[in-house]
């Protein structure tokens, strides 16, 4: 299920006061620049800035830590494997395997980048209601079809899940127990097939209902976004951080 954005924050937050469009733009620019950097100092600044933003905006520790833990599991694996394949000063060796210092540094850069980007996305984007995010993307001329796809997914994922739950329950009530048998595979095949058929049916009824209310292919948004001073301050800070990162990289 989709996590409720409000669950990520401890109460009202600073980020709520920033225009969704500014948040999307800041997250995208920051992510791209961070992904291109290679200097450890610049990346350290990036991570420090996103971490302080996370703290100031009151990001809840538990859900954020869960996501970071998932990412850093992969990073540990990288730290173990990457130094093997990068040539350089040997740190230590085990038989014919040598771990290089350069490789370890490379793994550290990757980990810094990944953590900084994930934190930025968590604070700036994951805290946005998906619907608001859809509308913000619309303002950036993201193709309307993609925005509609996002909005409809948000709305109907729950209905589909309920439908799946009902079918699954009906199966269970007739003593279905999944196992390693062709009967199980066939039954799950039927279940998925039936879900698809019902989704297509439902989508046709939804389009019919929309047509009945005068839909002719264009969505009109009820709410408009408004810029404020908070956006200007946040925007200026974000620009300063990105420029700082680039300068540090250039001097390194």
């Amino acid at each position: 299920m989709v996590t409720q954005p409000t669950l990520l924050l401890r109460g009202p937050s600073l980020v709520d006061r920033i225009d969704p469009r500014v948040r999307v733009l800041a997250a995208v620019v920051f992510s791209i620049v961070t992904a291109l950097l290679s200097s450890l100092v610049a990346l350290g600044l990036a991570l420090a800035c996103t971490a302080s933003l996370a703290m100031v905006s009151g990001l809840r520790l538990a859900p954020a830590a869960r996501r970071l833990a998932g990412l850093n599991g992969v990073m540990l694996l990288l730290a173990a494997v990457v130094p093997l394949s990068v040539e350089g000063t040997a740190l230590f060796a085990l038989g014919s395997w040598t771990w290089s210092r350069e490789g370890l540094l490379l793994a550290a850069t990757i980990a810094l980048k990944a953590n900084a980007i994930l934190l930025a996305v968590l604070v700036l984007l994951a805290t946005l209601d998906l619907v608001v995010l859809g509308h913000a993307l619309h303002h950036f001329y993201v193709p309307e079809k993609l925005v509609h796809l996002l909005l409809f997914t948000v709305r109907y994922i729950d209905v589909l899940e309920q439908e799946y739950g009902r079918l699954r329950e009906a199966m269970r009530l007739r003593a279905f127990r999944p196992g390693l048998s062709s009967h199980t595979y066939r039954s799950f095949g039927y279940l998925i097939g039936m879900l698809l058929v019902r989704s297509v049916d439902r989508s046709e009824r939804i389009v019919a209902a929309m047509k009945c209310r005068g839909f002719q292919g264009k969505f009109w948004l009820l709410d408009h976004f408004a810029m404020s001073w908070a956006d200007a301050w946040f925007g200026a800070a974000a620009v300063a951080v990105v420029i700082g990162m680039i300068v540090l990289q250039w001097r390194a």
Binding site: V154, R202, R205, A209, M210, R213, G214, K218, L222
Partner: protein, 220 residues
């Protein structure tokens, strides 16, 4: 005065083996509330869908608001002036919040945003859902969903209401709420329902669909 919706010898089938409507004729007069009875699968919903052009007849003529209606273009105006309530509210409510869903129709009609906001608030007040603007539609109860669906239809200020089982699957209290609301509305209606008590208190005429034919059922 001319009838609002008129079927003349309409025939329809979903395939050669499944005739649904045969030679159906009826007319809905202004302020008339026509009840449509019939067994499951007898074609009641099909008839409503034909009236707003979601389906097209194999033979016969359909007229609405004094004009013959045949092709998709003709029905754009019909859909604006005839509001249809679907059987399953989950099909009808697709916006994340109640206010956006109620506003969807009026925005499609090209009304300015301020007016849309006013219409939305007023319609929600009329159906007794004041303060529901920012509720998430998929988390509403079945009864609330039906009321919001009705609000989305009423927000377009239709002249005719086509209601496909408006109280199906609702508990007693929610049914009563819908019933009282509909009884207050001035619009002409075509009502599909199995609830005899409900129809008895609302309908002014009754027709029964049986084996694809429309029969008068006022004595039932």
């Amino acid at each position: 005065m001319a009838s609002l919706i008129e079927f003349e010898n309409v025939e329809f089938n979903y395939g050669p083996a499944r005739p649904v409507l045969r030679d159906c004729s009826f007319a809905l007069a202004p302020s008339e509330r026509l009840a449509l009875l019939g067994a499951n699968g007898s074609g009641k919903s099909t008839l409503l869908r034909l009236a707003v052009g979601l389906l097209h007849p194999r033979a016969g003529r359909i007229a609405a608001f004094g004009q013959p209606r045949a092709v998709e273009r003709d029905f754009h105006e019909v859909r604006r002036r005839a509001g249809m309530l679907f059987q399953d509210s989950d099909d009808q409510l697709f916006c994340p919040t109640v206010a956006e869903d109620v506003a969807f129709g009026p925005l499609n009609l090209g009304k300015p945003r301020d007016e849309v906001r006013r219409i939305t608030a007023e319609t929600l007040r009329n159906v007794g859902l004041e303060g529901y603007e920012h509720r998430i539609t998929y988390r509403l109860s079945g009864g609330e969903k039906r009321l919001v669906a009705l609000a989305t239809v009423l927000a377009m200020q239709p002249e005719v209401l086509l209601l496909d089982e408006p109280t199906a699957g609702l508990d007693e209290a929610s049914s009563q709420r819908i019933l009282q609301l509909l009884a207050r509305l001035p619009q002409a209606m075509i009502l599909v329902s199995h609830d005899r008590d409900f129809l008895g208190r609302i309908a002014t005429h009754r027709l029964r669909l049986s084996e694809g034919r429309l029969l008068p059922a006022d004595h039932e």
